[in-house]
């Protein structure tokens, strides 16, 4: 049964009418009254920038907080492949319903129907909006927009801008935000990090931040707060996330009462460059779009150490084409990742460390010519060569799965509000749309949907009744307490004076989470992790060494706070994975698989969202349930064969 705190607030009516019904019923704020409401937006990626710019255009008083030097640096910028939209420009049978269905199925039937249908509906508006802003999407010779395929879909619904779609979309949203900053609609706080969320009288009253340049702790009050602070993939230490991506804002909100949903749903992306050595600080993604033309294979036989070109066709195992003939190399990410892991675990891995599989373009180059391949993927090939020193036009790429995206996040209702009234979560920071596995090219879609076409409506519905009612300012005692707690926390890291750096702890923590709560999980392994992580965390609290001081820019101190939060999150990830006694999407429990090794869901007992309530210790958090109701789609076995 759904817990009373977790009312999803899905509007009544047939699935296709719900969003329209919501908009017809929602409360409005008069244009002249909007400036009386202050909205604080934390994060400046696709969701944050688009929400802030749109709210400011509507007339709200908006402030944006980013820990970067410029809002344009947010990690949305690194998304390569594309953005999905149900435009059906190809006439290949796409529709809002089909995108809705593919997304629910792609998420292994663990997402909320109402949210996902709305996402599919507004996907078409996103493309219109971004083109109007000047995003230079790829075009056909006739001047119309080009599209391509992505994993988990049999249609060509993915719009792209070379291999830099995320960059171009983020710059579009950033430019719109910059316009508002220039004309005074938005106040920007850069090089500032969230330290705490402050609740007064049962609603979110604002935030406390730390200025990274001078260490100043400062309160900000507002009528509503949006966390658009991204995902927690860096819990694994090695991931495709940027170095500064962290869970801190979401985790601090969680500690103050926001439930954290499905933390065990993490996405391991199948096509990343394998780790080269121990100095590695991050892994680099090679866009999924490469699987349109690249063929994945390993040698058929264990111990075949010949160079790729010398292995004859008959002695190669194109395992995705063999196992999933209808989707082939474009099988979804979770499935492709597990298949790669099995190939490597069977001893057939390739490369100097035998830790990769081939992604081979020789057939595409023979069919299309080198120029066409270069036109499609040139910048990705160049990047690969810069990192590995190998030319992928001549030698097949080597790839291996890596942590990439997190479907879990702060629990939100249909309005994207967390369990703290007035606190919203958008983009990757929330849990809402991707279920247990996200399809390629859907992250950009969700970030922009939340920021452009959902929050600007739903926040108004919350603010309207607050008109002309006073809200507490930053001199309120609750802000002062939070400021003092924040100062004490950072001073505490400096005062430990132990022997190990924050990075050392992060690396060790990441290894535990990757081994025990990565691509394949077992009850035994998770229990071990739940012993190992607290033990390492105890060591962190007594043996951490942070050099420098707290009153000037100190990246070691920043890192200490982030690693502290990753420790606590890591425990929750493992507890969530242990409690979910089924396999679904990116959460693969070895005990729950069918005869062919595919994920075996348990719809009777686990067709629900697990939302965790913080009680002071992540090892003691309470698990709450939101039952998922499937009114439109029939639960089915997810097959890509």
């Amino acid at each position: 049964m759904t817990d009373s705190m977790l009312q999803s607030k899905i509007p009544a009516g047939p699935i296709a009418d719900k969003w329209d019904n919501y908009k017809a019923d929602m409360k409005l704020v008069n244009p002249n009254n909007k400036r009386k409401f202050k909205v604080l937006v934390v994060g400046s990626g696709l969701a944050g920038s688009s929400a802030a710019a749109t709210l400011a255009e509507l007339g709200y008083d908006v402030e944006v907080f980013t820990f970067h030097d410029s809002p344009r640096r947010a990690h949305s910028i690194a998304a390569q492949g594309g953005i999905n939209a149900a435009k059906n420009y190809r006439g290949d049978g796409d529709s809002i319903h089909r995108l809705f269905y593919d997304t629910i199925k792609g998420g292994d039937f663990r997402a909320r129907e109402g949210n996902v249908h709305r996402l599919a509906q507004v996907s078409v508006n996103i493309i219109d909006q971004m083109v109007a802003q000047g995003v230079p999407f790829a075009r056909e010779y006739g001047g119309l927009l080009d599209t391509r395929s992505f994993g988990g879909s049999q249609l060509q619904r993915t719009f792209y801008a070379r291999g830099q779609t995320g960059q171009q979309l983020l710059l579009g949203a950033y430019q719109q935000l910059a316009r508002q900053i220039g004309i005074g609609g938005v106040k920007l706080w850069n090089r500032v990090e969230l330290v705490d969320v402050v609740n007064i009288d049962g609603r979110c009253a604002g935030i406390v931040t730390r200025d990274l340049v001078n260490g100043e702790i400062r309160s900000h009050s507002g009528h509503a707060v949006v966390l658009a602070t991204g995902g927690y993939g860096n819990a694994f230490f090695l991931s495709t996330n940027a170095m500064m991506c962290n869970v801190t804002a979401a985790w601090r909100a969680h500690r103050k009462g926001a439930y954290f949903a499905n933390p065990c749903y993490t996405q391991i992306h199948p096509t990343c460059i394998p780790q080269a050595d121990d100095t590695q600080s991050k892994l680099t993604l090679m866009s999924e779009s490469l699987r349109n033309d690249g063929r994945v294979w390993v040698p058929l036989n264990v111990g075949d150490n010949r160079p790729a070109a010398e292995i004859p066709e008959a002695e190669r195992d194109y395992y995705l084409e063999r196992l999933y003939p209808s989707f082939g190399n474009l099988a979804p990410r979770d499935i492709s990742s597990r298949a790669a892991k099995r190939a490597v675990d069977s001893g057939r891995g390739v490369g100097p460390l035998k830790n990769g599989v081939y992604l081979d373009f020789s057939a595409a180059i023979a069919r299309l010519g080198k120029d066409v391949v270069k036109e499609r993927y040139g910048n990705l090939f160049d990047m690969y060569e810069r990192i590995t020193g190998e030319n992928p036009y001549d030698i097949p790429m080597r790839i291996y799965p890596a942590s990439h995206y997190t479907m879990g996040g702060l629990w939100v209702d249909y309005e994207l509000m967390t369990t703290i009234p007035g606190l919203y979560a958008a983009g990757e920071a929330n849990f809402s749309d991707h279920g247990a596995n996200r399809l390629g090219a859907s992250a950009l879609m969700q970030g922009l949907a939340d920021g452009y076409f959902v929050l600007p409506y739903t926040i108004g519905n919350y603010l309207a009744p607050m008109l002309n009612k006073p809200v507490p300012g930053v001199d309120h005692e609750a802000f002062k307490t939070a400021e003092n707690d924040g100062r004490a926390r950072f001073q505490g890291f400096l005062d430990i004076r132990g022997k190990r750096s924050p990075d050392w702890f992060h690396r060790e923590l990441g290894k535990i989470i990757w081994d025990r709560c990565g691509m394949e999980r077992t009850a035994e392994g998770l229990q071990q992790a739940l012993t190992d992580i607290p033990a390492l965390y105890d060591e962190f609290k007594t043996d951490l060494r942070v050099t420098g001081n707290g009153a000037s820019l100190n990246q070691t101190l920043e890192k200490a706070g982030r690693v502290d939060d990753f420790f606590q999150l890591g425990m929750l990830m493992c507890r969530d994975a242990l409690e979910r006694n089924e396999s679904a999407g990116g959460h693969f429990r070895a005990e729950y698989q069918d005869d062919e090794g595919e994920a075996a869901r348990d719809d009777e007992n686990f067709a629900h969202v697990a939302a965790w309530e913080f009680t002071g210790d992540p090892m003691q958090s309470n698990r709450h349930k939101e039952e998922l109701e499937f009114e439109t789609i029939h639960l089915a076995k997810r097959s890509y064969k």
Binding site: S50, T54, D69, S70, R72, R73, H75, A78, K87, Y89, I127, D128, Q129, V131, A132, Q133, G134, P136, A138, R139, Y141, G143, L144, L145, A161, R162, Q164, Q167, Q168, Q175, Q176, A178, R179, I181, G182, N190, V213, A242, M243, M244, A276, D278, T279, Q280, S281, T284, P352, D382, M383, R386, Y452, F453, P456, K499, W504, R545, T547, S552, N554, T556
Partner: protein, 258 residues
């Protein structure tokens, strides 16, 4: 297989605060894998410094995929180091050899004051975008995306300009500290597209004049293009100058915006 470089000497700029004078300090790296990126080499050095109880070297970095534009560094006097078309985060140690002495400095430009060590403040670049580096298209009223066909060569040229990552290498490499390549990339991206025509002339005016408030003047050295990790072409500067000149002589009210 990976090989190791031995006995590297790093001369790194240390500066505790904007007002501090700053100085070079020498550090030794006994051995580092040639698979390590330049920034991973600095990570290893920082770990060593923390082990010794010393403060780590501050440097800006984030995506380490050459796209966010956060990393910087003058390496042996070259913005983003010796490899053409490559940001510092994508530079790997295989570019160097055992025994090398490598000099590492922050971006040097009046418009980019040093925050600490190798980190600078590049926010004047944001001021240029805020002045006009956008198309005014408020959320909600956009027409269908395919309503205006854009010839592929035009879309491709706009994309070539739009690839700028805003790292500021062009400014750091320029003997005048000019930001013309950065500004021209954004002006050209938007001014080439049909959607950008309505604000074409006001955009170029506002952006160029804001640029001039913060940065030096362009004298066509071309160092910017050579340093640019995205190899953005100098041609865009010519396009910007031409649009700026036309904007100044055009009677925009009576003839037309376009």
């Amino acid at each position: 297989m990976s090989h190791h470089l031995e006995n590297l000497t790093l001369k790194i700029w240390r500066q505790s605060a904007p007002a501090d004078g700053g100085h070079f300090e020498s550090y030794r790296i006994d051995s580092i894998s040639d698979e390590a990126s330049f920034l991973e080499m600095l990570d290893v050095l920082n770990e060593k410094l923390i082990d010794e109880g010393l403060e780590a070297i501050t440097f800006d970095h984030d995506c380490r995929e050459g796209i966010c534009g956060t990393c910087s560094l003058m390496i042996d006097g070259q913005a983003h180091g010796p490899q053409r078309g490559t940001a510092t985060c994508q530079l790997h140690m295989r570019t160097f050899k055992s025994g090398d002495e490598i000099v590492v400095e922050p971006w040097r430009a009046t418009a980019f004051p040093i925050v600490k060590d190798l980190m600078v403040d590049r926010s004047p670049l944001d001021r240029i975008v805020e002045a006009g580096g956008y198309i005014t298209a408020t959320t909600g009223g956009a027409p269908d995306a395919n309503i205006i066909p854009i010839p592929k060569p035009v879309a491709d040229a706009a994309m070539d300009a739009a690839e700028c990552i805003g790292c500021g290498a062009c400014v750091a490499a320029c003997p005048n500290g000019a930001a013309n390549l950065f500004t021209a990339a954004k002006v050209s991206h938007l001014n080439l597209l049909p959607q950008g025509q309505a604000e074409r002339w006001s955009r170029v005016e506002a952006m160029v004049e804001t640029m001039d408030e913060h940065f030096g003047s362009c004298t066509n050295h071309g160092e910017c293009e050579a340093a640019c990790p995205k190899s953005i072409s100098l041609d865009f500067i010519a396009l910007m100058h031409k649009d700026y000149r036309r904007a100044k002589v055009k009677n925009r009210k009576l003839i037309s915006q376009i």
